[in-house]
């Protein structure tokens, strides 16, 4: 750089070691997430709505109703929660495009994979914490209601249903079936509750990935709803043999297995499902692939 005679001395920016990397980007994303009021409101609303729905699902049972999986019964509100987590995940990315903030974000941290990673880590961590709080609260409220109502489980009814579907009930589960309410110490119960939270959090990240590809809020939410709600309807309409083969790959069915205790199939589709953790691994793989495509698109497209 040459300084023309008569010009003022050239400006020297302060030299600081290091660079605007992942740690800084994560700090920025953290501030970004909590400096918009809607984040806290949405999270509180989600917890209230989901726990409320779970309470409704368990509170409305009749005295004669047989509860074949009290854990799943108390977590059924997760299916509402997944929509709200989906919207939150979408907004983490799409709000940047909708408002134009993305240009400020990428001016500050021009290495785009770093920006996406920071968003995934920060939103993912918040989503896991909130969704686990949600799952454990829903479980606690649901079980308290079931036990207060002296809900009955039925070994015989569950066995009959399992036989109809052609599946076997593992021996260690049979004891659970005689009770109408569950406790975390029973086999498969803790796994189901933890699984319910993880399912929600991963779906939130899947939504973030879709939004990175699609960029528009409405479009990304539509795609997300298509994956979790519409796809199952389409699969259900397929011939049974095909439907049975395909259904286990659907996120919604993976989720249902994740928050059910072992052995009692919730529906025909789930009878052919992957085991809870295998399903979760598959769901995580979907999410990684979608986020990977999102990253590629983010790097290649103009901001």
């Amino acid at each position: 750089m040459t300084v023309v005679a008569g010009m003022p001395a050239s400006f020297e920016a302060a030299q600081i070691p290091g660079r605007a990397g992942l740690r800084r980007a994560m700090a920025a994303e953290w501030t970004k997430l909590w400096s918009v009021r809607s984040t806290m409101w949405t999270l509180v609303a989600t917890v209230v709505a989901v726990v409320g729905l779970c309470a409704l699902g368990t509170g409305t049972i009749s005295a004669s109703e047989i509860i074949d999986d009290p854990t799943r019964r108390s977590l059924i509100g997760i299916f509402l929660g997944q929509l709200i987590f989906g919207v939150l995940g979408v907004l983490v990315m799409s709000a940047e495009y909708g408002t134009g903030t993305i240009r400020a974000t990428l001016s500050a941290v021009p290495r785009r994979p770093v920006v996406l990673t920071a968003k995934v880590v920060v939103f993912g961590a918040v989503a896991v914490v909130v969704s686990e709080i949600l799952a454990f609260s829903a479980f606690a409220v649901g079980q308290a209601i079931l036990s207060a109502k002296h809900a009955v489980g039925s070994k015989a009814a569950a066995a009959q249903r399992a036989q109809q579907l052609g599946v076997k009930i593992p021996h260690n589960i049979q004891a659970v079936l005689s009770t109408g309410s569950a406790s975390l110490g029973q086999p498969g119960v803790l796994r189901a509750v933890v699984g319910a939270g993880l399912y929600l959090a991963v779906l939130g990240l899947l939504a973030l990935g879709l939004a990175t590809i699609i960029r528009h809020t409405a479009g990304a939410i539509s795609a997300f709803v298509g994956v979790v709600l519409v796809l199952p309807l389409i699969v259900q309409a397929l011939p049974t043999s095909l439907s049975n083969a395909v259904a286990r790959y659907l996120p919604a069915n993976i989720g249902l297995v994740m928050f059910s205790t072992n052995g009692v199939p919730a529906s025909r589709e789930v009878a052919y499902a992957f085991s809870p953790w295998a399903g979760f691994a598959l769901l995580a793989l979907y999410t990684v692939v979608i986020l990977g495509i999102g990253c590629l698109v983010l790097v290649r497209r103009d901001a």
Binding site: V3, S10, A27, V36, R37, A104, P110
Partner: protein
Amino acid sequence: MIEVRGLSKRFGNVVAVDDLSFDVGPGTVTGFLGPNGSGKSTTMRMIMGLDLPASGSVTVLGRRYHDLPWPLREVGGLLEAKAIHPGRSARAHLLTLARSNAIARPRVDEVLELVGLSAVAGKRVGKFSLGMGQRLGIAAALLGDPGVLLFDEPVNGLDPEGIRWVRTLCKKLAGEGRTVFVSSHLMAEMALTADHLVVIGKGKLIAETTVADFVARSSHKSVKVRTPALHQLSDALTNAGGTVIADPDGSLTVTGMSAPEVGDLAASIGLAVHELTPVASLEDAFMELTDEAVEFRGGS
């Protein structure tokens, strides 16, 4: 220091920026002038690594923007007013940017003070006027105390006081030895703010010059003349080959003749002249140059 070399950008079949090369040096305000849609914003976005060039390169301080270790400490950009989440406060917006580039928190309040937004620092940006949005954008650009500043149409939406403030700020920043690159579609504004000019039309470089040279090259010079004998002088000038327009304030604007020619003619027929001022129209010069670019492109 910004170096643009053979920069091109296409959107579909439309060539937005066409083989553009120019330098922007430190210590002066360089105006980036062109009609709306001539590719100024696209060029600025490419400088900041937001749009990817189809070909060519651009470096800031000798590096690609992407390779700057602390971008906000090297380059400050105001690209769009109010491109900020409406639900976030001005302070929170600046704080997120500060965090990403390890800029100390007190600097946020410092720049808010500098642009006159301290009183509304905690207010949500959605409630800001366009002018306040511009000021916040300028605050964001200044946050990292960078040596290179890019302002895209910074006076849009500002009141006269705000416009003067931006003008003074640009000159002050350049006076500190910084590189200041300011775009506008208004020639008159640039003439007041800038020392150097990069003029583009339809994505192509038309001129890389100083403001003084640009004005001197203007062929559309006119002469303003006042006389009590309005009609007689008007007729005489028309007969001598000049084009005369009667202005509402009672003066005449003459084109096609120089000021001495007008004065000599008035003297030769014994008419009094109360004012004789050569006027260089910057807007005309600008239009003339950009028209040529349009014609050139149309013919190719």
